[in-house]
């Protein structure tokens, strides 16, 4: 909504999350920067203490320029403007074709 969407928004909070483990996992040999033997690769999911927890955040962008389109001087112009917004959303083709 009224946003500058961010197509690529993959934020890796691994350092922060490792700090969670380092601070609260009871100490031991856990290190915020030392991954467990079975973790820490770019594609490996979280696998336990000391591992990296990966967070992805993404604005999906709903598909239309709402604030530019909603400047309508008369009430009669609202339905066509809204229809145009909805057409833009559909034309942005969020789902794409069949998988």
């Amino acid at each position: 909504m009224l946003a500058t969407p961010k197509w690529t928004r993959l934020f890796l909070f691994s350092t922060a999350v490792c700090l969670v483990w380092g601070c609260e996992s009871g100490g031991g040999n856990a290190s915020p920067t030392a991954p467990a033997p079975d973790a820490g690769t770019a594609s490996a999911p979280y696998t336990g203490p000391g591992a990296t927890l990966k967070v992805m955040t993404r604005n999906l962008y709903f598909g239309a320029e709402i604030n530019a389109s909603l400047v309508v001087p008369t009430a009669a112009q609202i339905p066509p403007v809204v229809a145009g917004l909805w057409a833009a959303v559909q034309q942005s083709d969020f789902p794409g074709g069949p998988s």
Binding site: W7, L53, T57, Y61, F62, L70, V72, I78, A83
Partner: protein, 227 residues
């Protein structure tokens, strides 16, 4: 409002899930995961609460993403947080000239892997919002664009933490609203005990000119100009 070429890519649901396949995130925080609903014929009355309930074709972005995740065999289960904010409904006209109502509900959504337990999902609107009058003075028609944040308590391997997902207002002519929302968020997070992961679209550039409260500190995206 932006919406550069990359954001407008057709089939971006599949491309996003491609990225999930490649990166295998443990937690996914989505913003702007809209739900579009219709009602025909229109019963629109200015100031009335939105009431359209028929999901428009391809109008549920959450269902589309869930379908893509399932098609790839990715197991994230049901979202642990579905956090609606703006909910607006306006009349629209179809190709035959008939008037129907179109409703848009803005949602921020969080998925986690099943190995991470979740509880206490909650959401809160920001005090600062943006209202747009439509149709000139005297029409009585306006829309209120409300943003906010959602939070959910998570536990991974007995370690508790809170995941917060938000979408702040744009900068530019709404920069004061954006900064007020950021301050609202910071104030809301302050009393939270324990560790917090804050994810979101802050609509902020990584520049010294960005309000300090909205300035991101995170890894640069491989896409130029994007954070």
């Amino acid at each position: 409002m932006g919406g550069g070429a990359a954001e407008r890519l057709p089939g971006r649901a599949k491309l996003i899930v491609d990225e999930i396949v490649a990166e295998q995130p443990d937690i996914i925080a989505f913003q702007e995961m809209e739900l579009f609903r219709t009602q025909s014929p229109s019963d629109f009355v200015p100031g009335a609460s939105p009431n359209a309930e028929t999901v428009a074709p391809n109008g549920d972005m959450l269902a589309i993403i869930e379908g893509e995740l399932a098609a790839r065999g990715l197991d994230y289960g049901e979202p642990v947080l579905v956090d609606p904010h703006t909910d607006i409904e306006l009349p629209a006209v179809d190709a035959s000239g008939a008037i129907y109502d179109l409703r848009m509900t803005d949602r921020n959504v969080v998925f986690v892997r099943p190995s991470i337990s979740a509880s206490n999902p909650r959401g809160q609107d920001f005090a600062s919002s943006f209202s747009v009058p439509l149709g000139g003075f005297g029409s009585g028609i306006s829309i209120k664009l409300t943003r906010g944040f959602g939070a959910v308590d998570l536990v991974a391997d007995d370690v508790p933490f809170t995941l917060v997902n938000t979408h702040l207002e744009i900068g530019g002519f709404l920069a004061s609203d954006q900064e007020a929302q950021a301050k609202n968020l910071v104030d809301a997070l302050a009393p939270l005990a324990g560790q917090v992961i804050l994810a979101g679209d802050f609509n902020s550039q990584q520049t010294a000119l960005a309000p300090r409260a909205t300035r991101p500190s995170r890894k640069r995206s491989p896409m130029p100009g994007r954070w």
